[in-house]
Assembly symmetry: C2
Homo-oligomer: 380 residues x 2
Amino acid sequence: MNQSAPTSDQPTDQTGTLSYEQAGVNYDLIDPLKITAQRAAASTAVHLAGHGFTEVAASRGESAYVVDVGPFYLASIVECLGTKTLVADEMAKLTGKSYYDGIAQDTIAMAINDLITVGATPLVVQAYWAAGGSDWFGDSQRAQALVAGWKRACEVCSVAWGGGETPALAGIVEEGRIDLAASCTGLINPKERLSVGDKLGAGDAIILLASSGIHANGLSLARKLVERLPNGYLTEISPGVTYGEALLAPTVLYSPVTEALWKAGITPHYCANITGHGWRKLLRHPNELTYRIHSVPPVTPVLRFIQAQAKQDDREAYSTLNMGAGFAIFVKAEDAERTVEIARAQGIAAWNAGVVEAGPKQVLIEPLDIAFTNDDLQLR
Amino acid sequence: MNQSAPTSDQPTDQTGTLSYEQAGVNYDLIDPLKITAQRAAASTAVHLAGHGFTEVAASRGESAYVVDVGPFYLASIVECLGTKTLVADEMAKLTGKSYYDGIAQDTIAMAINDLITVGATPLVVQAYWAAGGSDWFGDSQRAQALVAGWKRACEVCSVAWGGGETPALAGIVEEGRIDLAASCTGLINPKERLSVGDKLGAGDAIILLASSGIHANGLSLARKLVERLPNGYLTEISPGVTYGEALLAPTVLYSPVTEALWKAGITPHYCANITGHGWRKLLRHPNELTYRIHSVPPVTPVLRFIQAQAKQDDREAYSTLNMGAGFAIFVKAEDAERTVEIARAQGIAAWNAGVVEAGPKQVLIEPLDIAFTNDDLQLR
């Protein structure tokens, strides 16, 4: 069970530090359900035996669920975009443009970037577009942008768009809004591509891949900050670029990198999609290991701006936002430089940023003197 | 692309006939998007070749998308529950009970009953539970009922619950509401189980499987009718059974029947999940064939009640609601009686209800003197 950032209308201090929790996250209410659901879900794995199959138990708690179907592994997932559409809707009012082509990419990225962490090649994406009423689809500029962006993202990831749902849910989804999600199915083929962390160990290199901005996690915080800005989403954060536009930079699709790595003979030992919980996601795997980061990638301007406006120190910022690194790949040390080159050849900046060491479970971001321990991330 | 029933707030005559269109369906707004999306989706199939695979083109426009991955076919889907939760929420206020165990089954049924139409064995279900805020999950009775019902439905269908999403989407999903969906992945294994209609032909028998009530399609109409009832959802429609409770009877899960058929050596030529568009769904396959129904199953009391209250004639009712038949299986004539017996052995009433004939594309419901022609159903 993954979680998108919940939002609330808690009053906040208009000038002080704004943490993620203050932006409306209340995991205390969701977590008991999540734990019950995880246990119930785990208990259903036995049904696969009746079909001659078994689950890959190590994938429970990972970003995608994996089943051994004999000649290869089957991976599947459903992922929600979250609340990024609220920014797109506000910006559309301010500029008259539609941002739903980028929003489509964001939605697909949420599913694809999780699915590939286990070593899967994404094959089929299904669209889940639940609108607040039929009227949503009547804005043809916006609807066509959503279709065009969805198609283009499928092309980038070489996946087939299988179909989907376009329900109009008046009374459930708010009028004028849309709840976007994507499901994705893929294969881990051949089976040695499986990367659920069993090979992860001391000596591995940590490769970080660049993000394009906030991606689709941390939007609750980003939206809260607008209240503090006299020009709101139209505030310039760098010459000619508004806060709103910068927030809407589409999430990077990382599957071209993982596919290119496979073709080059590199099999990652593990991958982490850096979404909610920021760099604490580097602690995702349950193994007792230390992740020492010696090089920190440049921070994208919109994230630097959010950090400044929210008056967050580096520890808070790196524990919440991707801070310039959207995806981490753990590879054998000897594959590190080639992994960086292969990512760059796909047009994605990448850095050989750290090493895995024996030691207590923690992330040490040395240049910033930050340590996250296991207590900072409880995902399962 | 499938569609759930959109709803609107169009004024309606409080006493006259209430059609599905008057209950708020406006396909004119959704259809242009749907057609554009279908074309864009179809154009992405070429990407599978890069992975060594191909789509089963005949599955485009069917209820699930199918890819040939070599040793077997892969089928996948995402499906929305629709607005049935609005009835559950109203009934919870009136009775103090939670109906989310049944709602969970409904949601899974939406995905499973579509996936099995192509001959797939469902393997993995993912949960999509998008709430209007963290608070939704704080009602532990309701949340636990949702988990328990989800687990039980997985057990009935022998699928593994892989995981899912539990986002809190304040600003997108209405406060106090939840948008429920399920994705499902399965295999068609062995490949001769594929049922996309290529074997469907004159002489085949039409087996209808019983529904439990309204299932999860037609709820917009059912909710509109409440305005006409002095006792609303608490109106008794049969001794001791209220309208609300009857509406909330969970959707029948049909995969135990399709799996039992396979074990008995019966391979359906085609299947149709009777959801939106009622019995017009019998026209789903593009072939030019006549479907002659000689026996009409008993109509469940809640559907008879809706028909009477909405003052619909049989033609309108059968073109909108399942009218007692939730699923149709098309088999060789010689397999007809055994198919009925196998369904009944799974606890699901079934009838050898009609035959497929050469002739113009139409459904003839002889006992009711109703004909639906191709003009009555445009799904692709």
